[in-house]
């Protein structure tokens, strides 16, 4: 290759494409707000898309939601206030961290329940196997009977 560094530069440029697609730029008065902004747009789900957070989605609605998050951060709202405000408008669909309530109880504790059930079944299975009595040695009478059945009068124990 004649221009390895040029090729490398082009390759890097090509790889940078998706990064450039990442949308509008907001100015933050405080770098801490920016960190929280990125955390928030990661856990908020785009209502228009079936399964994408508003960070990854380029739907116009996601852009509006990012704008709202930025606006509320600059206005001094806490993270939970921002999530609550959006849940108030779009329902719990909008958050990837569903709240713990009667409706989502199974969602939160279902997996734990599954693990507990599986553990219980495995424990029972192991105990069951251990409890099985080992095969007992034949009694003298049984040994003689066996010898008769096999047509062999030698003592089998020897």
């Amino acid at each position: 290759m004649r221009y390895p560094s040029l090729s490398l530069a082009l390759l890097l440029l090509w790889l940078a494409g998706p990064a450039l697609a990442a949308i509008e730029v907001y100015d933050f008065s405080d770098p801490a707000l920016e960190t929280r902004y990125y955390q928030l747009i990661e856990i908020l789900r785009c209502p228009k898309c079936q399964n994408q957070n508003i960070k990854d989605s380029n739907a116009p609605l996601s852009a509006d939601l990012r704008g709202r998050v930025h606006e509320m951060l600059e206005a001094g709202h806490s993270d939970s206030e921002i999530v609550e405000a959006l849940v108030d408008r779009y329902g719990t669909f909008i958050t990837y961290r569903p709240p713990l309530n009667a409706l989502t109880l199974l969602l939160w504790f279902g997996p734990l329940l599954g693990v507990l059930l599986a553990g219980f079944l495995v424990a029972r299975w192991i105990r069951h196997n251990q409890r099985q009595t080992p095969v007992e040695a034949l009694t003298e009478a049984e040994r003689q009977r066996l010898a008769v059945v096999l047509g062999n009068d030698e003592d089998l124990s020897r």
Binding site: P47, Q50, P60, D64, R68, V87, R89, Y90, F93
Partner: protein
């Protein structure tokens, strides 16, 4: 537990599981996963003051009260809205009060559109930046809210209103609202 019972349980469990799964899948077939329930059901309209495109300007929630009405969220850039508009005009002619919210649209394009299709709207708000749409939990135009006389959101329909939707989803609810003692 007898061995026979144990065996039938062992063989029966996957069959039962299969039918449970089948039940879930069958239920899932009938529903559209893109439809979200409105978080604002049975809550009053959020506070707002929007520029109006018709006689009333600016428009506040008070302008949307007084009788059972529809609030239609639409835009000239939305193809299904094009399909819906003639039916809205017909509904308005039959006496239904319809308020409009031009969602992220251009005032000039909206006026042109109304010249072409006729105007079904009592009031029409211009939500150019989509902020009121966001406060209403709008995620796709067209959406139509059913408001009672106090401006409380009683129902939200996502998608176009056609005669079937009108008769099955809206009319029964409107009749129930009108029968409610106020």
């Amino acid at each position: 537990m007898s061995p026979g019972l144990k065996l039938s349980l062992l063989l029966g469990a996957p069959v039962v599981g299969f039918f449970v799964l089948l039940g879930f899948l069958a239920a899932g077939l009938g529903r559209d996963p893109s439809l979200l329930p409105s978080a604002l059901l049975d809550r009053p309209l959020p506070g707002f003051q929007e520029p109006g495109l018709l006689d009333i300007d600016p428009v506040t929630p008070a302008d949307l009260t007084g009788q059972v009405s529809l609030l239609n969220v639409w835009a000239t850039w939305c193809p299904p809205c094009r399909e819906e508009m003639p039916y809205l005009v017909a509904l308005a002619e039959s006496g239904v009060t319809i308020h409009g919210l031009a969602y992220k649209d251009d005032a000039g394009a909206v006026r042109q559109w109304l010249d072409h299709y006729g105007n079904p709207f009592r009031t029409l708000m211009n939500d150019a930046d989509g902020s009121l749409g966001l406060d209403l939990g709008v995620y796709g135009a067209p959406e139509t809210f059913l408001l009672d006389a106090e401006g409380v959101i009683r129902y939200r329909h996502v998608g176009i209103i056609d005669p079937r939707v009108w008769e099955e989803d809206f009319l029964p609810r409107i009749r129930a609202l009108e029968e409610e003692p106020s």
